[in-house]
Symmetry: C2
Subunit: 325 residues, 2 copies
DNA sequence: GCTTGCTATGGAATCCATTTCATACTTTAC
DNA sequence: GTAAAGTATGAAATGGATTCCATAGCAAGC
């Protein structure tokens, strides 16, 4: 395959001039530019981008760390990221970590190896201290609230959002509220648990330990949760559920068992997913697309800034009132 | 940042020896290896992978072209791809094209620029001839049946699979069958339409043009389709629907309107999605995860083979009988 | 004792583009 | 008329690795 040297030789100019043509530098005469372009055409030449990356120290790529893509929550954030990346002519390298620290570190190492210009961490199993070490090699943005670290974050205030959900439910008169959560030890799950317990205590609401149901990540987990509820001697009047698809599973199963929603059981979901719209689930919209988009915009800005300062961007959220509460 | 030359100087060896240590070449004495490793540790050295990519002509990355990731169909294929990529220590570059030819070409150009080692095209708007041009620069695998082209493919026989679905329905006694499809001009959609029309004609089944409903890609499109069905003077006894989430929308809406499924309307879905399992939708499992996994395995093999021959891998499919037919 | 063959090591070429620096010719400005 | 600014061009240094080739010591084989 032809290289820049050969083009230069054939077009009768210097390598520098060819490079100038390739990069649209103004100081090239019309004739020479034309000669170079013709030779390029003739030899079907293109740059070897690896050489460009080597000498410029930039790759035009950003890696994204998330556990798995086949989950609405992550795929929507990814969608926001991808859309902005497209606009900025950046490439995204997708790394499904499955929460394996080893894999996540491997991605951060890519930053050190100069294979990528930045890293967006959508969700991680890594400790903030480890992530911080890598900020020496390039910008990092997380989609989790990590406090004021040496890397940026775009996050939802899970504590406040969850409280607002609970307040909405109590405002509607419900005095006993259950809770379905995903991974029990996830960083946002821990925050929500605290919000839940504190709110219950403050408002002296009814509470049973079994009303907190963990590891609900699929529609079927929601259906299983409904089954558990049906077997309980004391059932809560309302459920708050992180993820509309889980809420959907619970609602469908509960209805199948003859419960009326919200009459016998009120349900509030999270994430404003399409399935939630279909089932008219009252939900907390936490602007996931915007989260991804904002994360990319921040990392893009930081890549192009001389001395990037970490940014901490808080996203807003809002309740979408439909008919399951 | 330190480079290999500096390491060599500090460790008192040649650059070649450092490279040998880095690449685990056997012909390095114990002492020198130790000295090199210690210097590397001391200077916190890592290779600049761009230099490695330049000289080796490999990048260890494969690009994936798909229209959007926030759709079950694509996210599951991506999951299969990602899982295999992880096993092979390969990186995936995700390109959401939104079916913009311009963006898709850009990705193929990356192959020409040597930025990636291969391309997996999950779904595309490009003509096969254009894709074929790029096979000169590296291996390409599609997840569509493109016939015997100069690039590989992993595909489902949509014609046969769809026919089998129709046969299943007629086997159950249904004599009038409607049809919900996604993008009407999608490559697999076109094949299914043919299968549908031909099957109807062959078996002399009842048919109304309005029983073919297009552009059903979301749950809500399914719900809208249910509304259309309800308004029809002549309603089919069964519906065959490409995508369980669309089928779910249709079922939920139809039940809401008082129809009994399958009594008043039988529904057969596609893709074996979680929501389908929850609603007990009879569906056609077309092994999407396996499709992604196989696509990666093929491209990986071709990257490492001297003279890769295109491979055409046909996947099987099977009906999962549940309770909506 | 001499030929092979293996281990160990380094020099130099190679991959391919960008960019700095040096040079020289034109304009423009005062 | 001369200094300053702008245009046009190329040589050479640079980024940072891998790998071919040459050399040499040493053990085994006959």
């Amino acid at each position: 395959m032809a290289n820049i040297k050969e083009i230069a030789r054939m077009a009768g100019v210097s390598v520098t001039t060819v490079s100038r043509v390739l990069n649209n530098h103004p100081y090239v005469s019309k004739d020479k530019r034309a000669a170079v372009l013709q030779t390029i055409e003739q030899l079907n030449y293109t740059r070897n981008m690896n050489a460009v990356h080597l000498i410029t120290g930039r790759t035009g790529a950003v890696a994204v760390i998330l556990p798995y893509i086949h989950a609405f929550y992550f795929s929507i954030i990814m969608n926001g990221l991808a859309h902005e990346a497209l606009l900025s002519q950046y490439r995204l390298i997708l790394c499904q970590s499955n929460y394996l620290e080893e894999e996540e570190i491997k991605v951060l190492e890519m930053l050190r190896h100069k294979e990528i210009d930045g890293v967006v961490i959508v969700s991680t199993a890594l400790k903030p201290d480890i992530i911080e070490e890598y900020t020496a090699y390039g910008p990092v943005v997380t989609c989790q609230d990590s406090g004021e670290r040496r890397y940026s974050s775009v996050y939802i205030e899970h504590y406040a959002a969850f409280r607002e959900g609970l307040e909405y439910l109590t405002g509607k008169g419900y005095r006993s509220i259950g809770y379905c959560e995903g991974r029990s030890n996830g960083s946002s799950a821990v925050i929500r648990q605290a919000a839940y317990r504190e709110f219950i205590a403050e408002h002296k609401l009814a509470f049973e330990e079994e009303w907190m149901i963990y590891d609900c990540t699929t529609e079927e987990d929601g259906a299983a949760a409904a089954q558990s509820l049906l077997k309980m001697p004391q059932r809560p009047e309302a459920m708050i559920i992180t993820g509309d698809h889980v809420a959907a599973g619970l609602i469908i199963e509960a209805r199948r068992a003859g419960l009326s929603i919200p009459g016998d059981l009120a349900v509030m979901g999270f994430d404003n997913q399409p399935i939630g719209r279909l089932l008219q689930i009252t939900t907390m919209d936490n602007h996931l697309y915007e989260m991804g988009a904002a994360a990319f915009r921040i990392i893009h800005e930081q890549i192009h800034s001389e001395r990037p300062e970490p940014v901490y961007r808080k996203l807003d959220y809002r309740i979408i009132e439909r008919s399951t509460v």
